[in-house]
């Protein structure tokens, strides 16, 4: 509980300082409270839409050969970890949503609660894509000895591309357009922008389409890498 509170606190201070420093009441067309709402909700959704722990476990299973056990189960490696990830995300989200809700109430931040269900639906769809990416990274362990660095690169890139660091609409127009077309903005920027009123429902629909297309493409890659990986793999042990 302490870590998200500190992170949110620092970002709140930064944005308060930015608004103190500027003569204008708005930045990029949005007022102070809208940014504060973004700063409170973006790290929360950022943590929901990322997989460090389960990806590390998946990589470890493949690299260490423990995958033998999973292969004999009546559930696939993909489904086994997907169910674990979803269960974990569901419980942690239920608990940790209290923090942004309380801060939103205290500071009377502009959150449109009727938009929460659709925004969270997009994040749930995005989680399937994230699981696919984790699966792809873990299959690389069939071919390489060390792949943990891929997790680091991928998650850092997602952090930037999702708009958790800075709202995408503040970036240069061309870059913002590209980032919005990519599916990763559906993890943080689009749902938070929709909840805070920075964007309308058309962007949410665009997010669903983008995530769906990426999910299909990544699923094909998952299947290819998994089949090729299993052909390369030699299970050892009792």
């Amino acid at each position: 509980m302490l870590q998200p509170l500190i992170s949110v606190g620092i970002e709140l201070i930064l944005w308060l300082a930015i608004f103190n420093a500027t003569d204008s009441l708005t930045i990029g067309g949005f007022d102070r409270n809208m940014y504060l709402a973004y700063v409170v909700w973006a790290p929360f959704l950022g943590r929901v839409g990322i997989s460090w722990m389960y990806e590390s476990m998946m990589v470890e299973e493949v690299a260490s050969g423990n995958i033998n056990i999973v292969l004999t189960r009546p559930i696939s490696f993909y489904e086994y970890y997907l169910s674990q990830l979803m269960g974990y995300k569901f419980t942690t989200t239920i608990v940790s949503i209290i923090i942004p809700l309380i801060i939103t109430q205290i500071y009377q931040l502009p959150i449109n609660y009727s938009r929460l269900p659709l925004a969270f639906s997009l994040v749930i769809c995005y989680l399937f894509l994230i699981h696919n990416l984790s699966f792809i990274v873990s299959t690389l362990a069939f071919f390489m000895t060390k792949v943990k660095s891929f997790t680091l690169v991928k998650n850092l890139s997602l952090w930037l591309l999702a708009g958790e660091l800075v709202p995408i609409d503040l970036m240069p127009a061309v870059l913002a357009k590209i980032l919005l077309i990519l599916p990763f903005s559906s993890g943080v920027y689009i749902p938070v922008a929709y909840m805070t009123g920075r964007c309308q429902i058309d962007l949410i629909y665009q997010g669903f389409i983008s995530v769906f297309v990426s999910f299909i493409l990544s699923s094909i890659l998952c299947r290819l890498l998994w089949s090729k990986g299993l052909r390369e793999y030699t299970g050892t042990g009792a």
């Binding site: 302490l2 620092i10 201070i13 300082a17 500027t22 660095s149 800075v166």
Partner: protein
Amino acid sequence: MSFADTIKKYYILYKSFFRASFVADLEFRFNFFILICAEFIWYSTQLILYEVLYRHTSRLAGWNLDQMRVFIFLALFVDSIYMILWDPNFVKFADDLRKGNLDLLLTKPVNEIFMLTSQKISISHVPCFFITGGGLVWALSQLPDFNWFKMLWLIIMIPSGLSVIFCGRFALNATTILFQRADFLQYVWFSLFRFGLRPDGIYGAVMNGFFRYIMIFILPFAMVASIPARFLLEPLNPLYLIWGILMPMILLTLTQKYWNYCVRNYSSASS
């Protein structure tokens, strides 16, 4: 053993650690390359944040974009030194403890803090050291009439800033001895360290400026890069200079005392 012999002994030890780390890191070359990419992405994100913010404001925390670039490159430069020298050791500290490796280190005729914090050197961060150092020089060259002799202040202020990171991280890791399992402290550290990656001027908006003094004198994360950047960008403030010299001594003494306390409460993890 004379002081010179002691220095020589530690130098030889450190050279061996460096050689071993170099070989270990380059053993998996592709992984090494990806790690370098990861560091570049991380450092880029910090730069991008401010570049984007300054598209919408001309001053932040009292600094314009050119001044802020000096601060952020300095912060990243200090961070890269810390990452090269100590970070891998702090990351595996809790594991060492659980596996009972600390027992072995405590019996060696070498300072255990040195052994715990210096065995692994992160070679993958060396390129970042040069890039951020180059970035700092470039950022300073953008300042009109910059007096390059001011760079000499960094000889005092960078070690001072590093002492904050070293002592803070080490103290949190040492706490693992008391709690047996304290992975959460790693996350607390990452959150706290973000205070050091922001200019101290922004804390002036909190608690009527009192919070900024907390960040300088009590939880001195502002001493990592923000105050050192002021030495380059602003006229000298003697108070900060005195504190920059005194603080590392205080922190290292307190850290040593805390470590001794933790070791007194240590119950071996090995059989």
